[in-house]
């Protein structure tokens, strides 16, 4: 709107009020403040100063460095006693400008040691009742943790070291100079946990029916800590929630397993000619170009192997380049299928390993979902850089490692499966394969910030699910799903920028809220073009590197060209929530001063005016007034019609019109309706505004207002909208994109928003079906038909 028109409206000035709607104004506390507490204040104090390692644009600086840890591991999986024994040589390159007096190594298995802090810090209580499961957990005398038999230099000389729970410090005789490389060896063993009983990100599952084990093996070797410009050594203890921080490196891993096992692993198999049969190699080759998964080891073969056990062993050798970790799975029960996916001109092998218990669900979906995930993530982030992407069937869990992940989703024994299992399985595969990008490639520090991998990954997971099928039942991503959490009692909510171990409501905090925030950033604040470009720049800049939160925030602003400090501040540094209240709406029209229009209008208004009670009663109860009884008491004023259009009126109007220029005339005659909306920010979080205006003629219009509307008035704002048509209803946040936690104050005219309870009571469901899934029901129907 041009200022001229506003001036005009001011000049005309005879605006009239037709409808005034007053709601109770919520009182807004205005604190006396002597410092800048603006919600739009730049984040200069919260963020580290840009420097030579990380620049102000959010990119790696010209002196950016990271350490390199290369591994050569020989590991044996003992099927008889479910244990691991191994020896590794770590070659560590100090690319930092600092000399290091010691090296820190992670001993993650110690989280299950008898004396672990995780066990000690867990709260236990007995409240009259206790289940066997609870008792078993309490009594758990599992002998877990790494047993180190030797820690030596490359030449075999014993090294001085100190174990600090889940960490180990190698005390170097002479500091490792900047730019120098150091090799050392560790020999170790540990007992594998029963994942089904004790839980865990890795472990084994025992199948009683055929007396076989399925192993998902990870954190199976002592791993280097990250040394960086951000944290020095990241040697914060592993307590269970905050996952991992790991440097990149190249791996050669020789895995010795029973000869009838099939191994799925990070990396590329180096000795396929020795390990695989000619037929298996041929099928693998065929899978590279196949348009649907090719079965390399069939269910029939796997079932045959289940029945006997070979004493002999085989050693599978894998190599992986530029990865931050390594994991594998092994079982004689494995069925194996594969399919090639073209990404950035290269072929990636999407593969799945699963026992017969996973079928028929796994052969139908697992590899296809892996392929879909790789394709969609590559579009939004970076091209998938690794040669394989693997999904392994593991009951109960979802856990990610480079190129390989362990996922749940087990059908019923009769081969049917519920909708929940189907979408649960696909969701977990998308999520865990997606972790290849966050944090395996874009390698953030999980021990410090869970949201940097879980939040970003959950966001892209949502995009990927929606590209799998329309109306995919995604539980995280859409902003309305986070309203209940964000609007809740602040005592139990922590800002997203909180250390991983201190999070309250882990899932909402680190998965749901950041995913919703990014979705709002993409759909409402920046728009898809600006967001997608900036998000991709972040991924490209930090692939195979260690980004920090600031690097993400700065890149998103630098690449989109939009100042988002208010957004990060509100969404990531506070527990404020979105709740905008429409408190008052006033409707104005311009006084045309045209007597032919205005006089009848005034007459109409007068007629509409409510009668006073006495006037109303007197109409019938008072027979005649004095002037009615005696006409001589009437004079000019009794007969004068104020609504009569006189020549004088007409002359005045003609003069007025003459004084106006054409533009002004057009504006007056356009007949606009002006709506002044007064709003308050009840939740505290700054938000863009989205309005839907429904007009009397049944049409509607969407109006979007940027968040900066609050910049000078953070608590209360007033905004005028105008239309030729008359507005019937106004709704704030019509597409549920703002995460507005209280929708009851989003309507004009005001409308009661029913509580969840009342909505339910008003639309009660009826219960007809019996306890079976839909596939079982359909099957029963078929049987009936045949009878």
């Amino acid at each position: 709107m041009s200022p001229l028109k506003w001036d005009l409206i001011n000049i005309i000035a005879f605006m009239r009020r037709i409808v005034v709607l007053m709601l109770v104004m919520a009182s807004v506390m205005v604190n006396a403040q002597n410092t800048n507490k603006s919600k739009f204040k730049q984040l200069k104090e919260e963020w580290r100063s840009p420097n030579a390692y990380r620049n102000a644009a959010g990119a790696p600086g010209y002196k950016y460095y990271q350490q390199q840890a290369d591994y050569n591991i020989n590991v044996t999986l003992n099927d008889e006693d479910q244990s691991i024994s191994g020896e590794e040589t770590i070659t560590y390159t100090n690319n930092s400008p600092d000399d290091l007096e010691y090296l820190w190594v992670q001993l993650d298995q110690n989280v299950r040691a008898q004396d672990s802090d995780t066990k000690k810090m867990s709260n236990t209580s007995i409240k009259g009742k206790m289940s066997f499961k609870g008792l078993e957990k309490l009594h758990n005398d599992f002998d877990g943790g790494f047993k180190l038999s030797a820690v030596t230099s490359a030449s075999g000389k014993a090294l001085d070291y100190t174990v600090v729970k889940t960490m180990m410090r190698i005390n170097l005789a002479t500091p490792l100079k900047s730019g120098a490389t150091y090799s050392f060896k560790i020999n170790y063993a540990y007992n594998i946990n029963d994942r089904m009983k004790m839980g865990g990100r890795s472990g084994y599952e025992y199948f009683e029916k055929d007396d076989n084990y399925l192993y998902t093996i990870a954190q199976f070797y002592p791993r280097m800590c990250v040394y960086s410009d951000l944290e020095g050594w990241q040697n914060k203890q592993f307590l269970g929630n905050g996952e991992f921080a790991l440097p990149f490196g190249d791996y050669t891993v020789a895995i010795t397993v029973p000869a009838d096992h099939i191994v799925g692993s990070t990396g590329t198999l180096q000795n396929a000619s020795k390990i695989l049969t000619a037929k298996q190699r041929q099928l693998f080759k065929k899978a590279e170009t196949a348009d649907k998964p090719v079965i390399i080891v069939s269910q029939e073969e796997a079932e045959k192997k289940e029945k006997s056990k070979l004493d002999k062993t085989k050693t599978w050798i894998f190599k992986a380049t530029n990865v931050r970790d390594f994991a594998f799975a092994s079982s004689r029960k494995f069925i194996w299928d594969a399919k090639g996916v073209k990404v950035g001109g290269k072929t990636v092998m999407a593969m799945s390993y699963y026992p017969k218990e996973g079928n028929p669900l796994w052969e139908k979906y697992s590899t296809e979902v892996v392929a879909h995930t790789i394709e969609v993530y590559s579009k939004f982030t970076v091209d998938y850089p690794y040669p394989v992407a693997i999904s392994v069937h593991a009951a109960q869990i979802g856990m990610e490692y480079p190129m390989i992940c362990f996922n749940y989703g087990r059908p019923e024994e009769d081969g049917t499966y519920s909708k929940k299992i189907k979408y649960g399985m696909m969701g977990v595969i998308i999520h865990e394969v997606g972790h290849n990008f966050f944090p395996m490639i874009i390698n953030s520090d999980e021990r410090q910030w869970t949201w940097m991998d879980e939040g970003l990954n959950t966001f892209v997971q949502y995009l990927t699910e929606q590209e799998w099928e329309r109306d995919y039942p995604s539980d995280r991503g859409p902003s309305q799903h986070i309203r209940h959490y964000m609007g809740g009692d602040k005592k139990y909510i922590a800002p997203i920028m909180t250390n991983s171990e201190s999070l309250i409501q882990f899932g909402n905090n680190a998965y749901g809220k950041p995913a919703a925030a990014l979705n709002i950033l993409r759909e409402t604040v920046l728009g898809r073009d600006l967001f997608d470009y900036a998000f991709k720049v972040y991924c490209e800049r930090w692939k195979f590197k260690h980004p920090s939160p600031e690097d993400f925030f700065r890149t998103m602003e630098d690449a989109s060209g939009v100042d988002l400090d208010w957004f990060w501040r509100g969404w990531f540094y506070t527990t404020d929530h979105v709740d905008v209240s429409i408190n008052e709406v006033n409707w104005y029209k311009i006084d045309t001063r045209n007597p032919a229009i205005e006089k009848p209008f005034k007459e109409e208004q007068k007629a509409k005016q409510a009668e006073q009670i006495s006037e109303y009663k007197n109409k019938t109860m008072l027979k005649a007034t004095a002037t009615e009884k005696n006409d001589s008491l009437n004079d000019f004023y009794n007969k004068y019609n104020p609504f009569e259009i006189t020549l004088l009126d007409q002359n005045d109007y003609d003069k007025y019109v003459e004084s106006l220029n054409d533009e002004q005339k057009a504006l007056i005659n356009a007949g606009y309706n002006y709506y002044e909306i007064k709003m308050s920010n009840e939740g505290g979080l700054i938000t863009p505004l989205v309005f839907r205006f429904d007009f009397v003629d049944g049409t509607e219009e969407i109006v979007r207002i940027p968040a900066e509307v609050w910049v000078r008035h953070e608590e209360k704002i007033s905004k005028v909208f105008f239309f030729k048509k008359e507005v019937q209803n106004i709704k704030l946040d019509p597409f549920l994109e703002m995460a507005d936690c209280d929708m009851s104050n989003n309507y004009w005219p005001p409308r009661m928003e029913l509580s969840k309870f009342k909505v339910y009571k008003n639309s009660r469901n009826y219960y007809k079906q019996q306890g079976e899934n839909l596939m079982q029901k359909a099957r029963r129907n078929e049987t009936l038909k045949q009878e």
């Binding site: 499961k133 909708k419 809740g488 219960y767």
Partner: protein, 166 residues
Amino acid sequence: MRSTIVIIVLIVLSSFTLHKYFVSLSQIELNSQTNRIEIASKYFTDDLIIALEEASLKKINLGNGEQDSTTLSLLTKYFEQHVELDVNDSLSVKMNFLGYEDGFKESWIYLESDSIPLTVQELGITNSSLFNSIEGQKHMIHFKFKDFQSSDILGKDSQKATFSLP
């Protein structure tokens, strides 16, 4: 102090440990017109399944959007047993299970109390659901009566929330 441990569950039918946090959310309102307590609670479907299967030793069909009478009766029994209401520290009021909406990840449970024959000054709500089945389970409670709002969080060691009305 109790000195005995009663073992109630022998078989675990299924369990999921995908999420690493276990919190339910309840919106509890004292309806000033009916003088009844209305509860809408959101649980993780996976956790509900574990608890119900442990309690009933039956396979539970939940989270598939296919409501059935068996699940309804098991949920009714379970929640009427585990959610208790007392008023002014003197009167125990029955909670009635109204029904549920089962979602893929999260399910809603609806309960309503009998009409309370007193002017409510203090409300005690006990929710002992899931604590025996899910380690680390918490219940977040948001209570509302007219303009009065208050919240509390229940854990295995503190299964009751008390709200004093203004």
